[in-house]
Each structure stands twice: as structure tokens, then as C-alpha cells.
């Protein structure tokens, strides 16, 4: 029972789609919150537009609304559900902003909804720069000299007064969007203008830059009785100047004396009290390394990425405790979930070191600016634990899945000393590796490196311990002693193999022979002071005693999906969690390995045992040696887990579900082609080549345009459409390293309708829960397309063929569990593009809309149940009477220099869903939920490639008939004039009076339809136009298909109400079918 007696029903706002700065941590926080509320006997109403989350599962909340996170929709839901309380501090900045808007709009008052936890007043005190400054001044906590400006002149005046460098931060944004460091007036001008635009309230803060100071964070909690505690301290490896989301972070602080630690801790408590926060909050400080001077940098009055990290780092469930506080408990009334004996009112003490490492999307955005600053760029992160910094940082690095297993990047081998030295001052994603290289080659001393980078000497010396060990391994002989020392430092077998030339299997054998084995320690919040019940472990070579109690129950290992990156998002965590649940339901002990601190899967009460470890063959095998599970499930952890299947199988581990050989048959081009030939299923003509000449000949035979990509990829990495030989040559030299081991695939590019299917097979029957049709034609990556369930335009014959092909492919590949197939339909004919014998990005979406627990069924099938036993029959499940649309969400605002036009390379970071009985409204919801602000009237700019001009004419006419004013660039306008549309001609960039960029900036253009000319050579003007739309939040449609759908939505919405919402439970239950 909650302490507050008036509460029965609580509304929880989620954080919406995954974007840079707001990732899976809010699924973790939100689902923990919902479970915690249910524990109190409360009815939970959840709103979140993101279908890929655990929190939008019907078993997490009583009423789940997958609807756009806008004031209009939220108000409608509140009116309908009449909750007693609203919990807004668990949905990230998005949830918090929405709560503020709901309060300001009067909706909360009107429907008598109490905001639980931190009050609006407190939120504003922390979020509004002026109020925050005032509050800090009142309690004597130092903040850097600063000013709030609402225009550029005030910014320049301030700069003239205090000088440069200055930090510019917009108020009320995500992940520091639009901020930056200005070193001169020109930069100040640019960054301030951008910041003003991004701030929800048109304010930016300009302050003295304290770049180079130590950045320290505290996670603090306060209850309604004013009891305050700190959960975790964190020290950023990167000094102030790099966004904490882009910093390597360690916990607890390492280089602070007790005096410094307590100084900042006391300040934290003072601040949380002054702000009157009830629940969790994150406070960031800058500490002068040379004195005890400090500044308060920022306060987040809510659960955050850092609090998810702190929860995983210490075992203390911050979100859960925040919820209990919000419903009226005090900290000393809440039980410590870890020890089950002590109370939640204590400060965790850890006896290990935690390293968090960001995962950046620069492997996808090859043209992006890789330097790091105050604007966050990472899409995800990994965490590692060990009893030494060296061990922890090495674990973190090999968890990243960026092709490195130690602090070494192959490409730097080719850099001369001068280049290395020069680059040390550059702050980018590779700096840690560069520092290691400089130490390895003795280019600079730790002291010099620390002087240049301002990274504390302590860290640099630790890195040197690692590189010194590497040098010793390289020079000396590998024996029991050196091997032991190398493992104590934390080097992977694979790294030792690279350095010594001894085969990795041999090293593993040596380790076993000399008993050089890791022990597993527990994360227990209290440094072993009390007995704990948490089944949460990490490995270390620095210890003698292993604490894991291996049970003799039937047990199975589930591999997680590692860090969130483009192409592998929260969807795979959803799948891993469901697989774990399915195992537990079947009475099997479920063990999970994962390294992502943001996720639900690494919540310690999800599985029977959680190993927080890198997902590499060595690390996984060590756990298997220890636990001796019956086998491993790899099909739910995305490509991360699939990639481990072969090496695990080779080591004699049983892989449940589809066999490794069959996985290979789907992924290996030649074997896949062979199978298709046998099955008489067509695929776009294509070949696999291992050198440039073969590629050129092959492409000629197939006919341009062709789609080129390296084999074995996820998320369309380095995939491009090339239109001629010149572009092909360019691609082969620039984008891929083609070798006999790494062939490149050249396929005919077919402009058809793309269709995606997820199915479950047991080897006899094949169930197809649903088919999704993509709005954008083939060529746009499936993850970036709008997907519609059920298909709206496919003829039944095509659906029949797809059903048939899916069944035959599943059976031919002996799939046991899930598979995902992508088809292209051109001229009524169905072609297979690819088959993934694993769970896919669309599984959570499809599971939710079809009400089929796909992962649960697939897990049981992988373990040997038949579909018939589970009550399923072969074939396509009858489509539901409603429509669900999945729309991609991009983080372009965070990534300058990235072209937003869509292509075969995936660019989206997240997704939203729109669901409705009407297709157009489902689409409207999806597009709105994705943050696209479709104008209902105004001016649309058309500027399209020649190949699209014909098709564009009808589209423009349709928009014109809807009353939009049409403007166009010269060529496009001519085409429009030819059919009698009065399109005003606007100039290309730099033609003064009608400069498009200027028009966009001045708000004269409300939507842009822009398609790129064939070829990859970046048309500079187009790029600048597209970027301008991102910067100013103007919708920009880069595919005519998307534009057509938008037009349809606009047409439909003219005579319908825009806001209509229904819980998922109602849709799948079939109630309220009349919209």
C-alpha cells in the first residue's frame, strides 16, 4: 500500500524514442518504476511512443498507451483515465518537459492530477538557469560566472566583459543539444544562435569555461522528510569540456582525497535540499585539480543516464527508490532490495572499480565530426567492473564491439610519431587509444600527456601499466609468470595472442593448466559488510575466492546485445529480457551476460543470474566453464550474440535454436544462393567479389545501379547504391577493405516495395505473426523506413507468395526459433533480399500489435517444444482490424556534418509507433510521435533530382490542392510550371534575395521535399538545405514515398479529429473499435 492514501491510479510518462542523449536507460528506469508501483497495489497507466521497450509491454502496466508524447495526446489520456497522480521524473528530459507543459496548460489541475515526487517548482529551480543561479547564490554554492541571454548582443556584451573561452548551453534541451565552447566572437555568434533555437524557452546560458578541471558527479536522493543520501560518486576520465555522456567515467571517484570527496558530497546534499527535490537527482561539479575550488555545473532533477549507471555500478535501484519516495515513503522505510535486511537509507560502498565507456556512431556516420565537446554524440555505452582500473578499462574496450580488444587501433600503427604527438591535443573518440599508442612508443611521458590532455596523471599512469605489460609480452617469452601478470593487468587472451604470436587456444589451455582463472565477485551495495541476495556478478583475476554458487538446476545462458548503436537498439534488449522470462517461466535457471548499463536486461532481478561482462568468446567461455549451462541462446542478442555462435559451438557449447551451420547458410552469400536456387526463390541478381576487377565486371553484368556492401553486416553498414563505374571504384577504395576473407557483395538495385516478415519456425511448422510493408521503396534501409502492419497495398497473391517463401526458407534453413526476412516486390514479383536467422528489430513492434509473445514462443521452440504444442499453426496469422505504423527517429540535431537524406545505410537511432483503426491516423500518430511537425498549411519547398521530377509533379499538385504554397528551385519549378502549378522560383544557396537557407531561417518555408541526384558525390547545396531544416526543426522529406504518405495524412486529417487514443489492451482485446 502506498503511504499516500489518496492514490489509486498513477500515470507514468516514458521518454519516447531512443535518440542521442536519451537512450535505453529510461526503459530501465520506467519499467522498474512501473513494477515498483504495481508492487504497491497501484494501477499503472503508461504512455510512451516507443514500442521497442519493455515498459510498453502489457504485463508492465495495467494500461499501456503507445501514443505520441504531446500535450494534446497526454491531455486526452488523462481525461480518459483520470489518474490520481503523475510520475514524470522517470521519463528523461522528454517526460519532465511534458509534465511541465501539462502543468502549465492547466491539464493537471483541471483533472485533479497530483504531480508525484519532485514538484514543478523544484523542477524549474533546477532547470531554469536564472532560478538555478539565484538558488545557488542563496546557499553559497559557487557557479561559474554566467549570464542568460535571449539574443546575440547580450552574449557579445558578456564576452567583452569576462573574455573567452566561454561555454554556451541552451536551457531545456536533451544531451546538451546546440551547446558548445566558443573561443572567439565568431564561434560565440554561431553557437549562441544555434542554442537559442534549440532551447525550448529561447534562452541560452553563457558562462566562463572551466574546461580542463576535473568533472565529478554525485547521484543524490532525498525523501519527503529531508533525509538525503548520495548513492554514487563518479569521476570523468575526460576533464570538463566533454559532455559527461561522451566521457569515459569511473566510479567511485579515484583521485579525490577524502576532504575533496566530502566537500563535494556536502555540497550535493545542500543543493538537493535547497532545490527541494524528492527522489533522485544528478549533480555535476568541476573541481580545480590545483586547489579545492569548485563550481556546480549542472543539476538534473530526475532519474538520468547517470543514475542508471550509478544503479548498475552500485546495485542500488535508484528508479525504484525514487518511486517509493514519490508515493510517500521515507528512505528508512524502504528495504534495501539487495541485502533484503538493511534499509535503502544508506550509501552504497563498492569494493571494485566501475568504468563506463561511450559508444559513438562514427562507424556509421563516417563523415561526421568526431571531436567531442559539450554536445553529446554517443548513442550508447558499456560498463565494466573489476578490482583494478586496468582490468576494468580493458573489459570496457572489448565490450564496445568496435574491432579492438585492447587499447590499440590498427590504423594508428601507420601513423608516425609526429602525427601521434600532434593529435594528443585533439579531443575525439579515439583519444584513449592515441594516448596508449603514445605511451607504447614512448612518444610522450605520462606527465606530458597529462599536461596536454588535462586528464589526471593517475589515469595516464594506469594506461602505461597496460602498455608496459604489452611491451613485456612482445619482447619476452610467454610463460606461467608473464601470462599470470598479463591476466592480472586484464589483457584478453586474444590481445596476448596478438602480442606474443601464440595461438589464442593455446593461451586458453595454458591458463587452464596453470590455473590462471578469473574468480567471480558479487555486486552487493555494501562491500561485503552484509550478506546479500543479489545474483549480480563480475569477473576478476585479482582475487582468490569465487562467490558464485553454481546450482544443479537446469540452466541456460542468454547472450545480451551489448551497447546501443545504430542498427542495434533497445529492441534486442527487449528480446533478451523476454527470452530470460520465458526460460524462468519454464522453470529453467536463466543466466544472462551483458555489458550495457542502460538496459532492463542488466537489472539484477530480471534473470536468475546476471554476469556483467564483455561479450567476447573468452569472457563468455569463462562463464560457461564455471556455470556449465546446458547451452546458450544466441538468437535474441542481435548480431553481437550471433557473432559469438560459431566460436562457442567450436568450443563444444550447445547452441539452442537454429544451428551455427544453418546461420552460416543464411549469412554466407554463396551458400545462401545455392539454397535459393534449390528452392526456386528469386533474389535480386548479385555476386560476391574479392577484388576491384571482379566488382567492375560483375556490376556490368548485373547492370547499374547496383547496391554494394561488405558481407556480414548489421544495419547496412557501409552499404551504398552506386550508379556507375566511377562511383563503384570510389566505393571500393574508400568504404571497404576488400580481401578474400572479407568479400564485397554487389547486387542489382531494385526499386520496388520493401516488405519485412518475422516468423517463428520449429522445423515443421512456420508461424508468421504478421507482415510489414514499407512506405519507402527499396533502397532506404529497412530500419529507416516507415513500416506498416498489416500491408495496405499488397495484392493477396503477393501476400500468398511471401507466406509461402517464408515457410520454405524457414524450413530449408532448419530454423528453430525466430527468423526475419526482407523482400522486395517489383512488378508483382517477389524477391528475397536477406534472411536473418535471429530476432530482428521489428519483433517488439510486431509482438505488441499482434499480441503474440514471439520471443517467448521462439525460446520455447528453441528448447524443443513444437509450435503445435504451444497452440500455433503454420501460416500467416490473420491480420488485426487495426493498423500499426512504425516510424524511424533520427538524432540529426546532435550530429552536424551528417547528411539526413535516407539511403541504404541506417541512420535512425530509435523508433515510434502509431496505432489506430484508421491507417492515416496511425500514420499521423507515428509521424507526430517521431517529432516531425507537419504543417497544416503554409509553404512547401520542392527541390528534387531529375529522375524524380515526373513523379514529383503529381505530388506537388496534390499539396497545392490542399492549399499549400509551392516554391521550388529552378529546374523543379520549370517542371511544375509545365503542368500549370504556379511554383515560385527560389534561388540556390547564395543567390541573395531568394536564398533558400535564408528563407528557411526566416520561417518562410514550412516543409521541404528534397531528393538527391543519383550518386554519392555530395551535392553541397542540397546538403546545406537539408542541414538547415534539421537545425530549424523544419520537416524535410528525402523520399517521395514519405511525401506521398504525408500528403495522404493531411488529406485524411482534414475531416477527422486528430487526437484519439486507446490503450494497447483495448486494441488487442478488440474493444472500442469505433474511432
Amino acid at each position: 500500500m502506498p503511504k499516500k492514501k489518496n492514490l489509486n491510479k498513477i500515470l507514468v510518462i516514458g521518454s519516447g524514442p531512443i535518440i542521442i542523449g536519451q537512450a535505453a536507460e529510461f526503459d530501465y528506469a520506467g519499467s522498474q518504476a512501473c513494477r515498483s508501483l504495481k508492487e504497491e497495489g497501484l494501477e499503472v497507466v503508461l504512455v510512451n511512443s516507443n514500442p521497442a521497450t519493455i515498459m510498453t509491454d502489457v504485463n508492465i502496466a495495467d494500461r499501456v498507451y503507445i501514443e505520441p508524447l504531446t500535450v494534446e495526446f497526454l491531455t486526452a489520456i488523462i481525461e480518459k483515465e483520470r489518474p490520481d497522480g503523475l510520475l514524470a521524473t522517470l521519463g528523461g528530459q522528454a517526460g519532465l518537459n511534458l509534465a511541465v507543459q501539462l502543468a502549465e496548460s492547466g491539464a493537471l489541475e483541471k483533472f485533479n492530477v497530483e504531480l508525484l515526487g519532485t514538484s514543478i517548482k523544484a523542477i524549474k529551480k533546477a532547470e531554469d538557469r536564472e532560478l538555478f543561479k539565484e538558488t545557488m547564490e542563496k546557499i553559497g554554492e559557487p557557479i561559474p560566472e554566467s549570464t542568460i541571454v535571449e539574443d546575440i548582443h547580450a552574449a557579445i556584451d558578456f564576452a567583452n566583459k569576462i573574455g573567452y573561452p566561454l561555454i554556451v548551453r541552451p536551457a531545456y534541451t536533451l544531451g546538451g543539444t546546440g551547446g558548445g565552447i566558443a573561443n572567439n566572437e565568431e564561434e560565440l555568434f554561431e553557437i549562441t544562435l544555434r542554442g537559442l533555437k534549440y532551447s525550448m524557452i529561447g534562452q541560452v546560458l553563457i558562462e566562463r569555461s572551466i574546461a580542463g578541471w576535473k568533472e565529478i558527479e554525485y547521484e543524490v536522493m532525498r525523501d519527503g522528510n529531508d533525509t538525503c543520501i548520495t548513492i554514487c560518486s563518479m569521476e570523468n576520465f575526460d576533464p570538463v569540456g566533454v559532455h559527461t555522456g561522451d566521457s569515459i567515467v569511473v566510479a567511485p571517484t579515484q583521485t579525490l582525497t577524502d576532504q575533496e570527496y566530502q566537500l563535494l558530497r556536502s555540497a550535493s546534499l545542500k543543493i538537493i535540499r535547497a532545490l527541494e527535490i524528492e527522489g533522485g537527482c544528478n549533480i555535476q561539479f568541476a573541481l580545480d585539480p590545483k586547489s579545492q575550488n569548485y563550481y556546480v555545473i549542472e543539476v538534473n532533477p530526475r532519474v538520468s543516464r547517470s543514475s542508471a549507471l550509478a544503479s548498475k555500478a552500485t546495485g542500488y535501484p535508484i528508479a525504484k527508490v525514487s518511486v517509493k519516495i514519490a508515493v510517500g515513503y521515507t528512505l528508512d522505510e524502504i528495504v534495501n532490495a539487495v541485502t533484503k535486511k538493511t534499509k535503502a537509507c544508506f550509501e552504497p560502498s563498492v569494493d571494485y572499480i566501475v568504468v563506463k565507456f561511450p559508444r559513438w556512431p562514427f562507424d556509421k556516420f563516417v563523415y561526421a565530426d568526431t571531436t567531442l565537446g559539450t554536445q553529446m554524440k554517443a548513442t550508447g555505452e558499456v560498463m565494466s567492473l573489476d578490482r583494478s582500473f586496468e582490468g576494468a578499462i580493458l573489459k570496457a574496450v572489448r565490450s564496445l564491439e568496435i574491432g579492438v580488444n585492447r587499447l590499440h587501433m590498427d590504423k594508428m600503427d601507420e601513423w608516425d610519431d609526429e602525427k601521434i604527438r600532434k593529435r594528443l591535443s585533439r579531443i575525439d573518440d579515439e583519444r584513449l587509444f592515441l594516448i596508449a599508442e603514445a605511451l607504447r612508443r614512448n612518444i610522450a611521458t605520462p606527465e606530458e600527456i597529462s599536461d596536454i590532455t588535462k586528464i589526471d596523471r593517475w589515469f595516464i599512469d594506469k594506461i602505461k601499466n597496460i602498455t608496459d605489460m604489452e611491451v613485456r609480452l612482445q619482447k619476452g617469452e610467454l610463460n606461467a609468470k608473464t601470462l599470470r601478470e598479463a591476466k592480472l593487468i586484464g589483457l584478453a587472451d586474444k590481445s596476448i595472442s596478438e602480442l606474443t604470436g601464440v595461438h589464442v587456444d593455446e593461451i586458453r589451455n595454458m591458463r587452464k593448466q596453470f590455473k590462471i582463472l578469473p574468480v567471480y565477485k558479487m555486486v552487493d551495495t555494501c562491500a561485503a559488510e552484509f550478506e546479500a541476495a543479489t545474483p549480480y556478478y563480475y569477473s576478476t583475476y585479482r582475487g582468490e575466492v569465487d562467490e558464485v554458487e553454481v546450482s544443479n538446476k537446469r540452466k541456460i545462458l542468454v547472450l545480451g546485445s551489448g551497447p546501443i548503436r545504430i542498427g542495434q537498439g533497445v529492441e534486442f534488449d527487449y528480446c533478451s529480457v523476454h527470452s530470460v522470462w520465458a526460460l524462468r517461466e519454464a522453470g529453467i535457471e536463466a543466466i544472462i551476460i551483458n555489458n550495457n548499463p542502460e538496459t532492463v536486461s542488466t537489472d539484477f532481478d530480471i534473470s536468475d543470474k546476471l554476469y556483467f561482462e564483455p561479450l567476447t568468446t573468452e569472457d563468455v567461455l569463462n562463464i560457461i566453464d564455471k556455470e556449465k549451462p546446458e547451452g546458450v541462446i544466441v538468437q535474441f542478442g542481435g548480431q553481437t550474440a550471433i557473432n559469438l555462435a560459431a566460436s562457442l559451438a567450436e568450443a563444444g557449447v550447445k547452441i539452442f535454436g537454429t544451428s551455427v551451420d544453418d546461420i552460416d547458410r543464411a549469412e554466407d552469400r554463396e551458400r545462401f544462393d545455392e539454397m535459393l536456387t534449390e528452392l526456386k526463390i528469386a533474389r535480386p541478381k548479385g555476386i560476391s567479389v574479392t577484388n576491384l576487377d571482379d566488382a567492375i565486371i560483375g556490376a556490368q553484368n548485373i547492370g547499374y545501379p547496383v547496391m554494394v556492401r561488405p558481407s556480414y553486416v548489421l544495419g547496412g553498414r557501409a552499404m551504398e547504391i552506386v550508379y556507375n563505374e566511377e562511383e563503384l571504384r570510389d566505393y571500393m577504395s574508400r568504404a571497404v577493405k576488400v580481401t578474400p576473407d572479407h568479400p564485397v557483395l554487389v547486387d542489382r538495385y531494385m526499386q520496388g516495395t520493401e516488405v519485412e516478415v518475422d516468423a517463428i519456425s520449429d522445423g515443421v511448422d512456420v508461424v508468421i505473426p504478421g507482415i510489414m510493408e514499407h512506405v519507402e521503396r527499396a533502397g532506404v534501409h529497412s530500419g529507416d523506413s516507415i513500416a506498416v502492419y498489416p500491408p495496405q497495398t499488397l495484392p493477396s497473391k503477393v501476400i500468398y507468395t511471401i507466406t509461402d517463401y517464408t515457410k520454405r526458407l524457414a524450413l530449408a534453413l532448419n530454423v528453430k526459433g525466430l527468423l526475419n526476412i526482407q523482400y522486395v516486390v517489383a512488378d508483382g514479383k517477389v524477391y528475397v533480399i536477406e534472411v536473418n536467422p535471429r530476432s530482428s528489430r521489428t519483433v517488439p513492434f510486431l509482438s505488441k500489435v499482434t499480441d503474440i509473445k514471439m520471443v517467448n514462443v521462439a525460446t520455447r521452440v528453441a528448447l524443443g517444444k513444437t509450435l503445435k504444442e504451444l497452440g500455433y499453426y503454420s501460416g500467416l496469422v490473420e491480420p488485426k482490424p487495426y493498423v500499426a505504423v512504425k516510424a524511424p527517429v533520427f538524432s540529426f540535431a546532435k550530429m552536424q556534418d551528417v547528411d539526413i537524406s535516407l539511403g541504404p545505410e541506417m541512420k535512425s537511432t530509435g523508433e515510434v509507433m502509431g496505432i489506430d483503426y484508421h491507417y492515416a491516423r496511425a500514420l499521423y500518430k507515428a509521424i507526430t510521435g517521431a517529432g516531425m511537425n507537419i504543417p497544416k498549411h503554409g509553404c512547401i519547398l520542392f527541390t528534387v533530382a531529375d529522375k524524380d521530377k515526373e513523379e514529383m509533379k503529381q505530388l506537388a499538385r496534390a499539396f497545392s490542392e490542399l492549399g499549400f504554397k509551392i516554391v521550388a528551385t529552378e529546374g523543379t519549378a520549370k517542371a511544375l510550371h509545365s503542368i500549370g502549378i504556379d511554383a515560385e522560383i527560389v534561388g540556390k544557396v547564395h543567390q541573395r534575395s531568394t536564398d533558400i537557407i535564408q528563407m528557411i531561417k526566416l520561417g518562410k518555408i514550412h516543409m521541404v521535399v528534397n531528393t538527391q541526384a543519383p550518386g554519392k558525390h555530395i551535392a553541397k547545396d542540397g546538403f546545406r538545405i537539408r542541414r538547415a531544416t534539421v537545425e530549424l526543426g523544419v520537416p524535410c522529406l528525402t523520399s517521395l514515398d514519405t511525401a506521398w504518405e504525408v500528403m495522404r495524412v493531411l488529406t485524411f486529417m482534414r475531416d477527422r479529429r486528430l487526437v484519439y487514443s486507446l490503450a494497447i489492451q483495448d486494441y488487442v482485446g478488440g474493444g472500442d473499435a469505433l474511432a
Binding site: 522528510n225 529531508d226 533525509t227 543520501i229 548520495t230 567511485p252 571517484t253 579515484q254 583521485t255 579525490l256 582525497t257 577524502d258 576532504q259 570527496y261 566530502q262 558530497r265 556536502s266 546534499l269 585539480p289 590545483k290 586547489s291 521515507t330 528512505l331 528508512d332 538493511t342 534499509k343 537509507c345 544508506f346 550509501e347 552504497p348 560502498s349 563498492v350 569494493d351 571494485y352 572499480i353 578490482r387 583494478s388 582500473f389 605520462p446 589526471d456 596523471r457 593517475w458 599512469d461 574468480v519 565477485k521 555494501c526 562491500a527 561485503a528 559488510e529 552484509f530 550478506e531 585479482r542 582475487g543 582468490e544 575466492v545 562467490e547
Partner: protein, 359 residues
Amino acid sequence: MKGKLVLQDGTVFRGQLFGGANATTEGEVVFNTGMTGYQEILTDPSYCRQIVTLTYPLIGNYGTAKQFNQSRKSFVGGLIVGEVCEKPSSSSMQKTLAEFLIAEKISCLYEVDTRALTRKIRSSGTMKGVIVSEYTSQGTIDEMMALPIRKNVVEMVTTPVSYTLDAPDGAPYVVTVDFGIKKNILDALRKLGCKITVVPAKATAEEILALNPDGIFLSNGPGDPKDVPNAIREVKKLIGQRPIFGICLGHQILALAMGADTYKLKFGHRGSNQPVKNLETGKVAITAQNHGYAIDEKSLAGLPVKVTHISLNDGTVEGFRHTQLPISSVQYHPEAAPGPNDSVHLFDEFIFNMQRFKP
């Protein structure tokens, strides 16, 4: 060189012995869960002759500096850690931890699985242990193990002679009985403007009252409070004479002087994260603690005493006050160093009491 810790029950924990074969030691093995403040711990006289295990594995990261010393020297029996940082980094650093250990002649066993050791102590209770070289004979180990736990630890750490820390006229005047006082207590009192005379543990009530203080402070210190019967006797005489404030051992001695009883905890409270609930406000403060003994709550029945603070972890008494007289004490360390400063206001209350009851 290779070394080991042998516990009374025969359990062995291996590591590296710092300082060579002669750096052997014996004492009661305890653990502290603080993640910072190793130097303050090493110089806290309350750890006199104890072998301190630090549960945080990376120790020595910021070196050492004179300003953090809590007493004139380190009295610990030994130190057990995971890793001694070889290259510390801090602008305040004067010596590395290794240099400090050498200077203070502290024997140290490192590269130890301190978590396993902590779990052992947690489940079996604090016990005697010896740190020796891997090659020390069993006979020597047995001999060392047979040495009794010392009872005269207060005598070892207290100031041999009285001394006064002056303050301007009219300042509240505190006589502090030094059972092993931490420097930060004196600093806290001085910060509040007190004049302080520190007297040895063996000072009599008459000697103390002869100084005519405004209040009397009973300090922290090592060991079993029952091992200082003289102090208990003298404190009994002080009750009712002046406002009294006690911390840690001083708190236990005060309780015994008032007729209560104390007992030994299984493995004590040692760390910077100990939650203490103030029963008068309902608020909880995070405190630094270092005690192996506690007041038996049952023994307080019938005494003019009110329990004001309890440990949230195990419910033991963490503070009490006299129901009529300006006498109070706490088991934990409001002076911090190491640890949180959440309870530093207790010193203000003491000053307030002194002023209120000024004779």
C-alpha cells in the same frame, strides 16, 4: 615478497608483504568499507594495534599529506589492501602511501583478496590474525597468535601531558579527555571558537574540574571501554558538574559511568556510509563509524537516559542523552575525517549547552 595473513581459526589469505621479512605484525583483524580516507583511518588512534583491512581495492591513489593526519603518528597494527598505488596523483600529495607506510613503520599486506577476507570476518566475527612472510615457521606464527590482545591501548595513544589550545577571552572552554582523540575533533571545536585543554586519559575528575571548564568532552579511542575502569570512575564524578559530550569510546565510557553496560559487536561498524536515525526528528544521517563495542540498550532501562540515535543497519544504540542534565553522546564520528560531515552540528549543540549552563 610473498606474505600471508593467518587468522586465529587457521584461515590463510595470501598477498605480498610490504617492507620485507621483518614487517610482521599481529592484532585483531577488522575491516573498513570507506572508499576514501585511508590516511585518516591509518592515523585514527581508535585503530590502535588493529590490523585494518580496507575493502576498497585501490588504495593510495592520492598519496598522503600531513594535513590529513589525525594524530601524531599511526597506531595501527597493520594494513591489508588490494593494491597500493605506485604512482599517486594529487596536488596536495607530499608522500606516496608506500613512503608513508615506511615512515610510520606500518606493515602491510597487499594484493590480497580483501573481499574474501571481509566476508570471512563478517561471517566469523572479528578475530586475531598475524601478518607474516610466506616462509615464517608455524612455530613463530603460533607464538604470535598466542600473544593476548592488548588491553592498554588507551594508555598507548593518549597524550602523555596536558596541553592547551588557546582562544580569545570569553571563548567557551572545553576540557577534553584524550582517550585517543582525532585531530579533526579538536579542529571542529576550535572552528567554533573553543578554548581547549586536552588532558591525558588518566586525569582525575578533580584535576579536570580544577580547570573550571564550561564543558567536558570525552574523546574517541581504541579498545574495550571496560579496559579503562579509572576513566569510568572519574567520569561518574563529573556527571552533574558540567555539560558533557562524548564520542565513540567517550560515549561508551559515559554510558558505563551512568550504570549502563556495553558489549562487543560481532564485526563492528567501520566505514563512512553508516546510516543513523535521529529518533527525535525521524531524519537519517550518514555517518562515519569506527567501533567494535556498543551500548547494551536493555541496560539503559531505568536510567535517566533517552536513546536519541540508532543504527539503521542493526538497530544498535548510536546516541543518547541524559533526561535532565546537559549530557549527550554519540557512538559515531560527527567530526568525519574520513567520512561525511552530515552531523557536524552536534558540536554546535555542545557549545550551546555549555553557554546555557555556564556556571
